[in-house]
């Protein structure tokens, strides 16, 4: 079967400032980030869509012991986008020491930033970012 929106195409979208996801022709759910099938109904009749780029913070942590190749501290978070999907990324534009429970439920806009690859990844890549509105 056809992989409608590959990781590489998703990355190219981020490069252009587009947040590409998949809209299900069966149930209308939006899958973001992309995968083979609709995250809700498992349908494979999907079309590429651009998400609006806003959401709500659901949880977060401040990483203070980082994997080799990353520099702590930084914030990892999950947000629910307005189209319903959840996505992981980095909360930026906030001092990690100011991150507390009040973040949960806050409105965010989505973007992306470049992260340097390491021995195990295929070059540099873009990661979803969240910024408080």
């Amino acid at each position: 079967m056809d992989y409608k929106l590959t990781y590489d195409q998703f990355q190219q979208g981020l490069e252009r400032g587009e947040l590409l996801g998949l809209k299900c022709n069966t149930c209308n759910s939006v899958t973001f980030p992309p995968m083979t099938r609709c995250r809700e109904c498992n349908g494979t009749d999907l079309k590429i869509t651009e998400i609006a780029g806003e959401g709500t913070m659901r949880t977060f942590t401040v990483i203070r012991v980082a994997p080799e190749g990353m520099t702590a501290p930084y914030i990892v978070a999950m947000a629910e986008i307005d189209e319903g999907a959840w996505v992981m990324g980095n909360l930026v534009d906030l001092n990690p020491d100011d991150a507390d429970m009040n973040l949960i439920g806050k409105r965010v806009t989505l973007g992306s930033h470049v992260v340097k690859g390491d021995t195990y990844s295929h070059g540099d890549f873009r990661v979803i970012t969240f910024s408080l509105i």
Partner: protein
């Protein structure tokens, strides 16, 4: 399915070891075989767990070398299992499935890990390979980070102020160190108090150093056998009453990290096969890789309602002598967590408990025990219910 039993069980002392993965596994494997009143040549298969040998020692495809160390016949297949931290439990489950199906009568299953050899930065990086490589680990996620996000969600969802939750999480570490102090095989055999936890360095907010299990070296192995043969060989075979295994996808699809959906599916399978429920379990070895993880597991098993297990250790309900003894070995927290070996060490503890061989940490009258191991981002859960 034929009835399946566990014969010999053995583990090395967990901690920092100068021994190789193969040396540690040979020690545990040969002891488990000898304890079963068997010889290596009696094994019909080796199900061998290891996660990160490639990075620890530059060694992949370790199973045939372990096979040689043990002196198994060439006709005996050796197969590697990798299910992150649930590796050895998954190996044992598959050994039991094939013994139950009549393919084999005797299988050696377990695992080995030498995580300390990597040092913390590389170990943190390689463990993070258990996250989704495109959409999760790229954000710099770590395993403490996953459970840290779960703790924040738990606090929010159940309206338990974070400070109060952390105090109660610290009590989980205190309990598991209390148990570990009685276990001569444990990585840490030292009691701590709540302040030890709350004064520790922050690893991933809100988890501090003593909320986290260590990187450990160690190996463990068990002999899985057809029950009739088991009864001829040893006085106290321990029987596999039920098993379960289930899988979850990336965290962003799981969404609510306060509920481990794969665990709820896995334990339902195990309870059904064993014909038991939460009230029938006397002793539990569960996956306390982080303090919050023990709380989540207690709720998944139905020992507590959702949102109600956070103060179980504080109320001493999960202590030795409490109403449900949880992690009498010291758990991953104090006994240590050599990820490829952990599940076999949990089975070892429960088998010894059911044989009443646990000395000062013996759970009085334990007849039914539960093993719970979690791999990855709640991605694999494997449960085994054992009975005497």
């Amino acid at each position: 399915m034929r009835q399946v039993a566990i014969l010999g069980v053995a583990m090395t002392k967990f901690g920092v070891s100068e021994k190789t993965n193969l040396e540690m596994f040979a020690e545990a494997g040969l002891e488990a075989i000898a304890q079963s009143n068997l010889e290596p040549k009696d094994m019909e298969a080796l199900y061998f767990g290891n996660c990160l040998g490639d990075f620890e020692e530059g060694q992949m495809h370790m199973a045939p070398f372990a096979h040689a160390e043990l002196g198994l016949p060439v006709s005996v297949p050796a197969t590697r299992f990798e299910s992150a931290c649930a590796t050895a439990t998954v190996a044992i489950r598959h050994a039991a499935l094939l013994v139950g199906a009549g393919v084999y009568d005797m299988v050696l299953a377990g695992g080995t890990e030498r995580a300390c050899a990597m040092g913390t930065p590389l170990a943190t990086r390689t463990f993070a390979m258990g996250h989704h490589a495109q959409y999760e680990s790229t954000a710099g996620l770590t395993f403490p980070g996953v459970f840290a996000m779960a703790a924040h969600m738990y606090s929010e969802k159940y309206d338990v102020p974070l400070k109060e939750l952390k105090q109660n999480m610290a009590e989980v570490a205190v309990k598991n160190h209390y148990h570990g102090a009685m276990n001569p095989k444990a990585h840490f055999q030292k009691e701590i108090d709540v302040n030890t936890v709350l004064d520790g360095m922050m690893v991933a907010d809100p988890l501090q150093l003593f909320d986290c299990c260590p990187f450990s070296d160690g190996a463990a192995a068990v002999v899985v056998a057809e029950a009739g043969k088991a009864r001829e060989l040893v006085n106290k075979p321990v029987y596999i009453a039920g098993m379960g295994q289930a899988s979850g996808g990336p965290l962003y699809l799981q969404k609510d990290l306060s509920r481990v959906m794969a665990r709820e599916a896995s334990i339902a399978q195990a309870y059904k096969e064993a014909g038991v429920g939460p009230d029938d379990i006397d002793v539990v070895e569960l996956h306390d890789c982080f303090t919050i993880a023990e709380i989540l597991a207690l709720e998944s098993f139905g020992f507590y309602e959702f949102g109600k297990a956070y103060d179980a250790a504080t109320k001493r309900e999960t202590y030795l002598g409490g109403k449900l003894v949880v992690n009498p070995s010291g758990g991953l927290k104090a006994k240590g967590h050599p990820i490829g070996a952990t599940g076999a060490a949990q089975v070892t503890e429960i088998v010894e408990q059911l044989r009443e061989e646990s000395g000062p940490r013996q759970v009085e009258g334990a007849r039914v025990g539960l093993v719970d191991t979690l791999g990855g981002d709640f991605g694999t859960i494997c449960n085994i219910i054992l009975r005497s």
